[in-house]
């Protein structure tokens, strides 16, 4: 009778669990003795004392009860005795979603602390995959997964935008070094290295691309960036969708084979490294004919081989290092980044605990794309904030873009006097290149001189921040607090660029954007969406009008704003003008 009352989605979840179970997962689900040793290893527990629903064993039991009820005889014979239970309604699946996505970052810290070898992170990933397979997931996960399926990368960066950004960085690097040989090669066949990146670099942080290019150039490396298959990140890891994982990994592998690259190097991204280097071949069912390594290892090799020379006195700020969970606890990268740091900074300070025992940045497991859990995430970040604060360091370095965002957000939230950077930036800064040509200061100081920019956002703090950043860089800025006012100002001032929030009282940003695009006079104005709700992306991109020139997720920092505004005005704007 019960089976008849079960919802379609619940039925599918149970059926698919049977297909997903392997010996490791079944063992992890059967072996837990509820000893409680994992409890204190979880940052969610530490930041929420007294709330047992964050305990790893408790969270695992949400999955374990289904396993026991349907796949283990103890739960079939005496379900109440072992707290076995099934799922019947979509509401119960929503509750499971809250645990699987909102109360765990799959950091694997509890797994390493379980005496029984129960790998909860693997169990939780399976739960996520089951939920995703029936469409039960946070909106941000759906958006990002869709982008990666359809556009080929998880931030929806269009191919032309990616290539424009690389070209822009290439031009700047050639100019800065005064050396045409420093140009970034695209799709160059037969290279030693095919360099893959996180789409966040193309979208928010292109400096990491030019810094990496500078290092490759200095090392005299034979390298290329691919025009396709350049995104080594893989949302399949976070969503638990092995099929997506396989498709994304295969894109990178097939491009490397097409180009005949002997080595695929992944930029500093924990989940990308793990997804491509470790899980990718499993998901794709492919034995790859080339080597794969993190750029951290590549940079260290260059230092060991004397291919690059560095001067650590160029990085004198106190620096600490955050171990990305995927790099460290899932791929064994502990000492390499520290060795690189010792070459390029003068004041390195370990945070405690560190290495395999370091705490999650709290933005892992795709948490940064799930805005509904942001307050919970930031509360749990107290543990990390205390860890960072105790170092007294001014800079936290991490080899992971996810961690960069997670740490930047908690640093802002807890008002820590720190900034986040990556090894590639520090190595680039410390790099000794004879033919260095300084970028003219005047150009940086007034990068937006003569530009007219309209800021539309209902939050006074955001308006003030954006206005200050843009005006400091020479732009003339107008601001509006809602959509109607923004549209009126756009018609009156005809700016070069509009930064547009989406959620606003009155006429929302989506409608304003559509009105701008459909207005023959305003249509040529570049638009950069700046929103705290990445899940609304599809509402913009699925409109029957040309897409915006930029799309940024809040929180944004000065560098991100400036980089993207410059890119839109200098690169995209020029193309539009032509």
């Amino acid at each position: 009778m019960q089976a008849l009352e079960r919802s379609y989605k619940s039925q599918k979840v149970i059926e698919r669990m049977g297909k997903k179970l392997n010996r490791q997962i079944a063992g992890s689900l059967a072996a837990c003795v509820h000893c409680g040793n994992c409890t204190e290893s979880c940052h969610y527990v530490l930041a929420n004392p007294g709330d047992p629903t964050y305990a790893p064993a408790y969270k695992a039991d949400r999955v374990r009860k289904i396993f026991k009820r349907h796949f283990d005889w103890t739960g079939r014979v005496l379900p109440w005795w072992v707290k076995a239970g099934s799922v019947f309604t979509d509401e119960e699946l929503e509750e499971l979603k809250d645990f699987a996505f909102g109360k765990c970052t799959n950091c694997r810290r509890c797994s390493l602390n379980c005496p029984m070898g129960v790998d909860f992170a693997v169990v939780n990933r399976m739960a996520r995959g089951l939920l995703v397979s029936v469409g039960v997931m946070p909106a941000g996960v759906a958006v990002v997964s869709k982008d990666q399926w359809e556009i080929g990368n998880q931030m929806g960066v269009l191919k032309e935008d990616y290539l424009e950004t690389v070209e822009w960085m290439s031009d700047e690097l050639v100019e800065a070094l005064g050396d045409p040989g420093a140009a970034i090669p695209i799709d160059k066949p037969g290279c030693e290295i095919m360099y893959t990146i996180n789409p966040r670099e193309a979208k928010y942080d292109p400096r990491t691309i030019s810094d990496a290019a500078k290092i490759f150039h200095a090392a005299g490396e034979s390298w290329t960036m691919p025009s396709e298959g350049w995104d080594m990140t893989n949302f399949g890891l976070f969503s638990g969708d092995d099929e997506l994982g396989g498709v994304v990994a295969r894109r990178v592998f097939e491009k490397a084979i097409e180009l005949g690259a002997r080595r695929v190097v992944m930029s500093e991204c924990g989940h990308g490294y793990r997804s491509t280097r470790c899980e990718g071949p499993n998901w794709a069912g492919m034995d790859v004919p080339f080597a794969m390594e993190s750029s951290v290892v590549t940079m260290l090799r260059y230092l060991h081989e004397g291919r690059i020379k560095v001067d650590k006195t160029r990085n004198t700020a106190s620096v600490t290092y955050h171990d990305s969970c995927n790099n460290a606890r899932s791929c064994g990268m502990f000492e390499e980044p520290r060795e690189v740091l010792r070459h390029v900074v003068t004041d390195f300070r370990e945070m405690y605990p560190n290495r395999a025992e370091n705490y999650c940045c709290t933005g892992g497991g795709g948490a940064m794309s799930m805005s509904e859990y942001t307050p919970r995430r930031l509360k749990s970040a107290q543990v990390k904030a205390d860890q960072l604060r105790a170092t007294g360091a001014k800079v936290v370095v991490t080899s992971c873009h996810n961690c960069v965002d997670g740490l930047a957000d908690l640093i802002r939230h807890y008002k820590l006097d720190m900034k986040v950077t990556q090894l590639v930036n520090l190595v680039s800064d410390a790099l000794v290149i004879e033919k260095r040509v300084a970028v003219p200061v005047a150009r940086i100081a007034a990068a937006l001189a003569g530009r007219r920019i309209l800021v539309v956002d209902d939050e006074p703090d955001v308006r003030t921040f954006l206005t200050a950043v843009l005006e400091d860089n020479g732009a003339t800025v107008f601001s509006a607090a809602d959509g109607d006012e923004g549209l009126a100002l756009a018609r009156k001032e005809r700016p070069d660029l509009i930064t547009l929030d989406l959620s606003m009282p009155g006429m929302d940003g989506g409608k304003v954007f559509e009105a701008i695009r459909k207005d023959p006079v305003l249509a040529k104005i570049s638009v950069c969406i700046i929103t705290g709700r990445p899940e609304l992306r599809k509402l913009i991109y699925e409109r029957d009008v040309p897409p915006p020139e930029g799309y940024l997720d809040k929180p944004v920092n000065e560098e991100t704003v400036l980089t993207n505004v410059r890119k839109i005005l200098e690169v995209t704007g020029e193309h539009k003008a032509h």
Binding site: G27, A31, P115, G117, C331, M333, L378, T391, G532, D553
Partner: protein, 245 residues
């Protein structure tokens, strides 16, 4: 010795052991029917640990309290674990020694060692019951089986402790209780969480193999840094974030 006690020490135990072996065999076959995951990746990390070493390390990890933070930072809990499991081992051994090698227990020192270990385990059992009831975390994750298994073992320890001198001439009550409980224990174990030792080799085998291949095993411990001059603590923002917009 009464016929009932003889039956309890021999036939009943043998039947219970055979039953347990059959159920365990079925249990292992059940676990093996799940496919083992395959790792295609080349090794990562700088640990250079072959898979077989990782597996051995993983199996031995329970005897190395300095390795896992959860053991290292809770020495009292780890000591409880050691005492409890030594007690289990000796109480099981007692169920074979009494019927098949009673001469061992004619040595007073041996009896004392058995009793000390088993009563220690009984005391730990009591502590664990209290912890499971008092701690909100433990309560939240506990099932009826968890409580029952713990109480069963603790009571069993008590009768094992009383039976260690093996003196039926002074009253068969404790010995009868001990052997009947042992038989029940043997039959119940395969259905309860007490059978975790059956899964331990599997879970730790696969976890060790994977973690060694990925350069995570042996687990690198935290290096304790000097105390730095920390930044002054400040309060978090009152509002969670601007992301809601």
């Amino acid at each position: 010795m009464s016929g009932l006690l003889h039956f309890a020490e021999h036939r009943l135990q043998e039947a219970a052991l055979i039953f347990m072996a059959l159920v365990y065999t079925k249990r292992v076959l059940w676990l093996l029917k799940f496919p083992a995951g395959k790792e295609r990746q080349a090794p990562t990390g700088s640990q250079n640990t072959p898979k077989w070493k990782g597996i051995l390390y993983s199996w031995a990890i329970i005897g190395m309290p300095w390795v896992m933070e959860s053991s290292r930072s809770n020495p009292f809990l780890y000591a409880q674990f050691v005492i409890f499991h030594i007690g289990v081992t000796l109480a099981i051994a007692l169920s074979f020694i009494i019927p098949y090698a009673p001469g061992v227990l004619e040595n007073g020192t041996v009896v004392l060692v058995f009793q000390a270990a088993i009563w220690g385990a009984c005391a730990v059992g009591c502590i664990r019951i209290i912890r499971r009831i008092i701690s909100p975390y433990m309560r939240a994750i506990s099932t009826p089986d968890d409580y029952f298994s713990l109480i069963l073992l603790t009571v069993w320890f008590a009768f094992a402790g009383l039976s260690a001198p093996n003196r039926p001439d002074q009253g068969e009550g404790p010995l009868l209780a001990y052997f009947f409980l042992t038989a029940f224990f043997l039959m119940y174990v395969p259905f309860s969480k007490i059978s975790h030792y059956l899964y331990y080799p599997f879970t730790r085998f696969y976890f060790g193999r994977s973690m060694a291949h990925r350069g995570v095993f042996p687990i690198p411990r935290s290096v304790k840094p000097p105390v730095y001059e920390a930044a002054a603590p400040v309060q978090a923002e009152a509002t969670a974030t601007t992301r809601s917009h």
